[in-house]
């Protein structure tokens, strides 16, 4: 019973031509609990295809906390815990990583574009649509906004001194 006659996750199978026991979902199907009620929430774009400037779901404290948690799992390794782009991978691996506090570029991304970047990736960054659920991605966007506000407030406080 060490190796059983069943196909577990990520196992191979001689039955399929490509040797994978894992199959792709059939295009066009909708699984239970995965109905996209609102296309803008799922893509971060409005009907005209422009990025949303706000977060289309309600963000409460619980979701913000969850965003912080997801951020520290999925984003912090590269972008670091404050969003400066100096995570462990950036520092030791020399991977060029964006800072969310770059006033020229990223700080001015609309919410929808941040969401789209998490979803589909950009440049060297992979898309995270598969490990992070839609709601959690919006929660991360909200948390990134919090980080930016904190940074600005800190900068202003420091400048005021």
């Amino acid at each position: 019973m060490d190796d059983q006659l069943k196909s577990e996750a990520q196992e191979s199978s001689d039955f399929f031509y490509d040797g994978r026991a894992m199959r792709d979902p059939v295009p066009g199907t909708v699984a239970r609990g995965e109905l996209i009620e609102d296309e803008t929430v799922a893509t971060g774009k409005d009907a005209a295809g422009d990025y949303l400037t706000g977060i289309p779901i309600e963000i409460d404290d619980a979701l913000r906390t969850r965003g912080a948690e997801r951020y520290s799992i999925y984003c912090a390794p590269c972008h670091d815990r404050k969003g400066n782009g100096k995570g462990v991978l950036a520092e030791r691996g020399g991977v060029p990583t964006a800072s969310f506090h770059d006033e020229v570029k990223f700080a001015n991304y609309p919410d929808g574009q941040l969401f789209d970047t998490i979803t589909n990736g950009v440049g060297l960054m992979a898309g995270y649509r598969y490990p992070i659920s839609t709601t959690d991605r919006w929660a991360i966007v909200a948390y990134v906004r919090t980080l930016q506000q904190e940074k600005r407030a800190r900068d202003q406080a420091l400048a005021g001194n």
Binding site: S7, R32, Y130
Partner: protein
């Protein structure tokens, strides 16, 4: 009361036959524990030595396992976390709404769709087992022409040429034969086909398709309407030769409604009452409060007599009345009185094997009693192609006359199951070109030039309407395993000449229904739910024509009594034969006979005595120049003068179906498709081995299924607890308290359970239970973790039936645990009696010590030869057991763990009802409840607090966690207690 009557499982057991006694006394019959047959001890040791030395070469290295991840990971898919899709299983004119579990894109388990009116979240054995057909290695795998491999494109090219030829004369020499369907897309494509080929013939036909029911309704109302039963609203039900709880159409909702009408929980103490008149002994008959044995051919007379009786009791009713022999006048009087008393809340239902006149008359009676509109509704058939035997006969004649050049056969298996007198296999061969789309390589494929592999409903797009008209979508779970083409795709090619994906054709149909604006959004909602909300048809206003009156007249005219032997065709596990290659269904013991892997000539005890045959003796049944030989089987309670044979056996192809049982279609004609009189039956003198389980896993002569009458229950609610007197139990050691955390328990309501067997197949599917084959079943080695015991009570001639599902009891003082020398079976802190497979050394002491006989032993590596494709059907969350290991019900521990993980991730406590075992989820009657017994508000705790609650063999002080709620019958006061002593048929 009846609970004190002796309960027996088999006639052998009742007669203290030594063969039955052996099964009772020994855990396994003589020889079952010995080494493989034909090998003595000495050669066994030699072989062992040889295989050990060989194992030295082969077994010194672990098999290399590779990790094969997704290259591009699809959204939402987390390896190891199953997802669920709504889809639909088309079944004749009905459709079952389902939710299917998918592990990384492979469907592994089927459940009912709780949003869908046809299943309401549950299922039946056929639905559960249909997933195995998807992975059947015997499926058609290639497009072939004359036996040679071709491609689909080759076929499209060939059809394009044929298309041109046939369009020249409007398709006059073209015919399409399909199975009946009720699908918006297929209906749209059929219309398109008809306009492309106006002269072509299209015929829909299937052997079991309620043709008589629809014809009867048409006769009475002049319209094409389909009945929908609301058994839950009925207080009195009269079933005439009908198995509406088990094998008839809409059996899931009927079983649910019937159980709802008998659910005596939370203070409810009223119950419906079921009268059954039938010749065979169906499961519905087994659930009856009063059953009278009447041959199928005498049901028409019974209906006429009932009409007279109802009129005598004051019902205004058009049409003639009549008289029936062999049915006690008091019985008829009581039934009519009950129906009159519950006008508007009664229901008369006739079985599909009864002629159209009976259905017309029954409709008239229901209408006169005010039941139409409440307990039975009639809805128009839209988008449906119902079965039509007359057109099939015309097609056969046309084929014989040579006026058909091209015959397209879509689905079905007409060469095997068509009426015998048509000799359709020979007729099909007369067409120049036969094109066949079929999932299996069956009898019909053998006749086709072009064989195109069909798709299973889990791998293609489609749609279907349920019996109530609810539009449902068939959503694929996986791409076609063998490159098959769906019916939609083939019909689309025929109708438009263009080869297009089925997805497009289905979306096009739904575009019309949902509108083009915001179509995707609405369409995705339909896919998510599995159905279009509120698309059920409105019930039609039924107005009776003169047909109903004429039908009653005809019935009374045909009341003459036949004395000759009558053959009745019944429906068994393989249904019409479509599931014959399904190992799970072949091994599912028949609900009444407990036979597996075979059909038999079922006889009444008296007829068997006249013929001089015992169980298993071969008999030859002949009629109209054809004959079949099959083992005799004595069914207590069957009417005399009736021999019953299940359809769907005796297939020629398939590694499981081939050669299993005898083909009763050989004796079945189009004009007498339900039953036929004047058959000859004789013993051949040969004896057959029948793999049946009725004496397996016996529990001695004790009141196991505690039962009484409703009246008795009202007087003594705790009758079940008092049925066995025993001194207070005391354990031999310090008992564990089990007073914290979750403590799992199960309650099974015997008053709701009909004994259909859906739970057995659900368990098999969920828990990777192997199929062992007839030889092993005969030796008592079937592996089902959950079995359904069927007991008889009373005299063999007119026995009453009791059923009891028996899973592991998860005893708190488990006898199995005390005798295991290696602690392979132990209790966990949540009260589960767990089995540690890797510790098990196979002593089988545990099984010996289990009073309930719920443990199963792997005598062989039953899964070793599982084909690669069937391995894909295995549940990855459950161990596939190897040889030498004991196994048993785990309360679906993998589902408990999954729910716990979900609850923990969501940072909340487990909710009651969140964990549903496979058997519980499948049960159409909602007889099984599972949950935390420490939570006073949980459903299982409330059920266990019911007065009817009792533990099986609780006098042994095993403290079972699975308990039962005693069964009640609701006899009519005038017929109470001696109903089974009614005069017999003769």
């Amino acid at each position: 009361m009846s609970g004190k009557r002796k309960q027996w499982r088999s006639l052998e057991g009742l007669a203290d036959d030594p063969r039955a006694a052996e099964f009772m006394q020994r855990e396994f019959p003589e020889g079952a524990s010995e080494a493989p047959e034909g090998i003595d001890r000495r050669s066994m040791i030699t072989l062992l030595g040889a295989s050990l030395s060989l194992a030295g070469f082969a077994g010194c290295r672990r098999p290399v396992e590779e990790i094969v991840p997704y290259v591009t990971a699809p959204e939402h898919v987390i390896p190891g976390v199953p997802r669920h899709y709504a889809t639909t299983m088309p079944f004749g004119l009905d459709a079952y709404g389902l939710v299917v579990e998918s592990h990384e894109g492979r469907p592994t388990k089927i459940e009912g769709n709780d949003l869908h009116p046809s299943t309401k979240g549950s299922s039946n054995a056929w639905v559960q087992a249909s997933i195995l057909d998807l992975y059947d290695p015997d499926r058609a795998q290639h497009v072939t022409h004359g036996g040679e491999k071709r491609s689909w494109d080759d076929f499209v090219a060939a059809w394009t040429a044929l298309d041109e030829t046939h369009r020249a004369d409007g398709g006059a020499r073209l015919a399409v034969l399909t199975a009946p369907h009720n699908s918006p897309t297929l209906s749209r494509l059929s219309q398109a086909f008809a306009s492309r080929f106006p002269a072509a013939r299209t015929v829909a036909w299937a052997p079991l398709a309620d043709e008589n029911v629809l014809a009867g309704v048409r006769q009475a109302t002049g319209e094409s309407l389909v009945p929908a039963l609301h058994v839950d609203r009925a207080k009195v039900i009269l079933a005439l030769d009908s198995d509406f709880l088990h094998t008839d159409s809409q059996n899931i909702t009927s079983a649910r409604g019937f159980a709802d009408g008998r659910r005596l929980v939370d203070g409810n103490d009223s119950m419906n009452r079921l009268y059954v008149a039938e010749g065979v002994h169906s499961l519905t008959g087994g659930n009856a409060d009063h059953r009278v044995r009447v041959r199928s051919s005498r049901i028409p007379a019974l209906v006429a007599a009932l009409a007279s009786e109802l009129r005598a009791q004051g019902l205004s009713l058009d049409g003639a009345g009549g008289h029936v022999d062999g049915v006690d006048a008091g019985w008829l009087h009581a039934v009519a009185g009950d129906l009159m008393q519950h006008r508007g809340h009664g229901l008369i239902v006739a079985g599909p094997r009864q002629p159209a006149e009976v259905h017309a008359a029954v409709l008239a009676l229901n209408a006169a009693l005010g039941n139409v509109g409440t307990t039975v509704e009639y809805r128009p058939l839209t988008d449906a192609a119902p079965s039509d035997s007359e057109r099939l006969a015309t097609l056969a004649a046309d084929l014989e006359a040579g006026s058909i050049d091209t015959l397209v056969i879509v689905g079905g298996n007409p060469a095997y199951d068509a009426p015998a007198e048509l000799d359709l296999a020979a007729r099909i061969a007369q067409a120049d070109t036969v094109i066949r789309l079929g999932c299996d390589l069956d009898e019909t494929s053998a006749l086709a030039q072009w064989q195109i592999p069909g798709t299973h409903y889990l791998e293609a797009w489609g749609d279907a309407r349920a019996a109530d008209g609810t539009a449902s979508v068939i959503q694929p779970l996986i791409l076609p395993l063998y490159g098959g083409k769906s019916e939609v795709e083939l019909l689309n090619l025929l109708a438009s000449g263009a080869d297009a994906p089925g997805h497009d054709a289905v979306r096009e149909t739904w575009n019309l229904a949902l509108g083009r604006s915001e179509f995707d959004k609405r369409w995705n909602k339909v896919l998510h739910d599995g159905l279009l909300a509120e698309s059920a048809q409105q019930a039609a206003q039924v107005s009776l024509g003169s047909g109903a009156r004429d039908a009653l007249g005809k019935l009374s005219a045909g009341a003459a009594q036949a004395q000759e032997m009558e053959l009745v065709f019944t429906t068994g596990s393989p249904y019409d034969g479509r599931f014959a290659n399904n190992g799970w269904l072949q091994e599912l013991p028949d609900a009444m006979t407990k036979m597996t892997w075979d059909n038999a000539a079922m006889l009444s005890p008296a007829d068997a005595a006249t013929l001089g045959v015992a169980n298993g003796d071969e008999v030859r049944v002949s009629h109209g120049g054809a004959e079949i030989a099959l083992p005799a089987w004595i069914v207590p309670g069957q009417a005399d003068g009736v021999v019953a044979v299940a359809l769907g056996y005796g297939r020629e192809t398939g590694r499981i179906a081939g050669g299993t049982g005898a083909n009763a279609y050989a004796l079945r004609s189009g004009s007498a498709a339900g039953f036929v009189a004047g058959v000859a039956i004789e013993a051949t003198g040969a004896a057959r081995t029948v793999a049946q389980t009725q004496d397996h896993h016996g529990m001695e002569d004790r009141p196991l299924v505690r039962n009484s009458s409703l009246e008795d229950y009202r007087q003594h609610p705790e009758f079940a607890k008092h049925m066995v007197e025993h001194p207070p139990g005391k354990a031999m050691w310090e008992e564990h308290s089990y007073d914290s955390g979750n403590q799992w328990g199960m309650s099974i309501d015997l008053n709701a359970c009909t004994g259909c067997g859906a739970c057995v197949i659900a368990c098999q599917s969920e828990n990777n239970i192997p199929v062992v084959g007839p030889d092993q079943v005969h030796r008592g080695r079937e592996m089902h973790w959950l079995r359904i015991d069927r007991y008889f009570e009373g005299e063999p001639e007119d026995a009453q039936v009791l059923v009891q599902p028996v899973p592991c009891m998860h005893c708190e003082n488990a006898p199995c645990e005390q005798v295991c020398p290696v602690a392979a079976t132990v209790h966990d802190e949540e009260g589960l009696n767990a089995m540690v497979y890797n510790r098990c050394i196979g002593t089988r002491y545990c099984s010996n010590n289990c009073p309930y006989k719920v443990r199963r032993f792997n005598f062989y590596n039953f899964t070793k030869d599982t084909p690669e494709s069937v391995q894909l059907a295995h549940n990855p969350d459950v161990t596939v057991r190897s040889r030498g290991v004991m196994e048993k019900c785990t309360y679906c521990t993998q589902r408990i763990q999954a729910a716990k993980i979900t609850a923990k991730l969501e940072e909340r406590p487990l909710r009651d009802g969140e964990i549903r075992t496979a058997c519980q989820q499948a049960c159409p009657a909602r007889a099984i409840t599972f949950g935390d017994i420490l939570d006073d508000n949980s459903e299982v705790a409330r059920r266990k607090a019911e007065p009817r609650d009792y533990g099986l063999l609780e006098e042994l002080y095993t403290k079972p966690r699975t308990t039962y709620m005693a069964k009640l019958r609701n006899p009519h006061p005038d017929l109470a207690d001696d109903s089974h002593a009614d005069p017999a048929d003769h």
